[in-house]
């Protein structure tokens, strides 16, 4: 049975199509200001790219902050449920998930059947989120996609002590004017996110194997800083950014 998952995040909208557990295709576009239109567009595009028509898709589940604006979905689940379903499907052994998205970060614990046992969410500020990285990339005039690779060159990461995105940005600007190397500043930024996420996850008590999902998982610098902070190996999902949409598509098959 072919099913679809639509994940409307704060920055990007994702769609995934699966057929009895097999991934047929995924798509990522920017959400923009109209979540409803983004859901429709990303769904149409993923169908087109995979030469499918709407009639062949039997069930659709929506997730993410815009889940309720996807009117054509059969049901919606929170992104926590969907990330759990997605990660569990990719690797049945996974017991913990860290999901760093555009506007929040979450840590999720799974039981042996892939069900969510417990979770925590950072929902107060942008520190420890993708948005934090975007602000820093702008201040440093570096393409966000290069952040991870650049930071790996650093031998001496800068110290970013402020937890607030706005203050951290001014801290970064003063580091720039002090002439600190770009790679060190970027590595420092990654360590600051890792510290923030790790302290949140510690309240939950993570167990291995641990998988990271969400758009920020694409940044190798954040992942390695987190591994150091947590003292754990982190499995990076090959479908990190679309993991929520994939999970939604898998959950759609159970409806």
């Amino acid at each position: 049975m072919i099913t679809a998952g639509i994940d409307i995040g704060s920055i990007t909208a994702k769609a995934a199509i699966v057929d009895d557990g097999k991934i047929l295709g995924t798509k990522v576009i920017f959400t923009g200001y109209n979540a409803e239109a983004a859901g429709k567009n990303v769904y149409e595009e993923v169908l087109k790219e995979n030469a499918l028509d709407k009639a062949s898709v039997k069930k659709i589940v929506s997730t993410g902050y815009g889940r309720n604006s996807v009117k054509f979905a059969d049901k919606s689940f929170t992104e926590i449920m969907c990330h759990a379903a997605g990660a569990y499907h990719l690797d049945k052994k996974v017991r913990s998930i860290i999901d760093i998205g555009g506007q929040d970060s979450k840590a999720i614990i799974l039981d042996g059947d892939g069900k969510v046992k417990n979770f925590v969410m950072n929902d107060k500020c942008a520190a420890g989120t993708g948005r934090f990285l975007e602000v820093m990339a702008r201040a440093l005039e570096v393409d966000l996609d290069e952040f991870g690779e650049i930071s790996l060159k650093s031998k001496k990461p800068s110290k970013i002590s402020s937890l607030c995105t706005v203050f951290a940005e001014s801290e970064v600007i003063s580091l720039i004017s002090k002439g600190e190397k770009r790679q060190d500043i970027i590595a420092g930024i990654h360590e600051s996110i890792a510290a923030r996420v790790a302290s949140m996850a510690a309240r939950l008590g993570l167990t291995e194997p641990l998988m990271i999902t969400g758009g920020v998982a694409r940044n190798i610098g954040v992942v390695s800083a987190l591994e150091k902070k947590l003292g754990m190996k982190i499995e990076v999902s090959p479908y990190a950014q679309v993991n929520g949409a994939l999970g939604a598509a898998f959950l759609a098959a159970t409806l």
Binding site: F77, T78, V116, K117, M121, K124
Partner: protein, 373 residues
Amino acid sequence: MKELTELKKVVSHPYAYIRKYKKQTGKKIVGYCCSYAPEEIIWAAGALPVRLFGTNQNIHLADTHLQSYCCSLVRGILEEALDKTLDFIDGVIFPHTCDSFQRLSDIWRLNITGQFHIDVVLPVKLDTPSAKKYLADVLEKFRKDLGRALGKDITDAQLARSVKTYNKIRALVGKLYELRCANPQIISGADFHAVIKAAMIMDRDQYLKILTQIIKQLQKAKPRKNRADAKRLVLSGSVCTHPDMYGIIEKAGGVIVWDDLCTGYRYFEGQMNEKIAPLKAITARYLKRVICPAKHMELRGRGENLIRLVKQSKAQGVVFLLLKFCDPHAFDYPYLKEMLEAEKIPFMLLDMEAELPSAGQLQTRFETFIQIL
């Protein structure tokens, strides 16, 4: 239901109601902030006890007196005192509970003029023989202090009448809890919240009349069956002043069937003995009722009470609503958590300020918690 509409009007514009009430009746208005304020004595004195909830926006005047690590409740109440929103108040009562409220009392006394101000220095331990004697003396002193401030003697007959009124209100609210626990669909969470909150604002005789009508009608009403699959939850914490909270939880697929809140069942719980001297009866209830974490009575009393509430109400989970920077509640949380874990009762913690986290994130947390139950 027109009675419900009336209560909702009072709750959404409490200060308008109180100003009008004061003008019409000439009664004195006495503000208080905590369910340990002996309001039976205030009502007996012919004054209206009004619970203060504070504002949740634009707190800036209070910030010149209180650090930002004081809870938003205390800061919000001080803000309304300083910006003269509460200028209709004739006097204010501060029972000794947490540190932040003690400091609020001091700041109030030094900065808000033209009102009387009474500290009620309650014991912290409530389960010792000396505490019993001491509390009786404190309440007797409060009766005299309040009488002096209002320029009248508070007689035993007045106290006895007040005890009766409060007993009736509390018994009826208890009935409402039971009705809703048995049939959560019988009254929406938002309406339920309005009935509870109005009890701390309105003329108590008028409230009792309306409440009696509401209960009568609810007992006759046939519940709608549309939320039969909703997950049953108990709310635990200090105050829940967000009328939206019940609605948000209902939208996420849950329903609040009981609570352990200062602005909830802790306030209504327990009857007073009408056969003994009224002040003795009032004292006995404050010694017996379920404590808040700023008081002490048996090491694990609060946890045992919470588990009992969950079992009695057949709840499937607990939602802790804790105000950020509320030390007494934060201090109790780890042991409550351990006790719930031992009983395999699922729970979630919402650490909040006066203003709720953004609606989307709140929805996600409640929905996930309810979906995994």
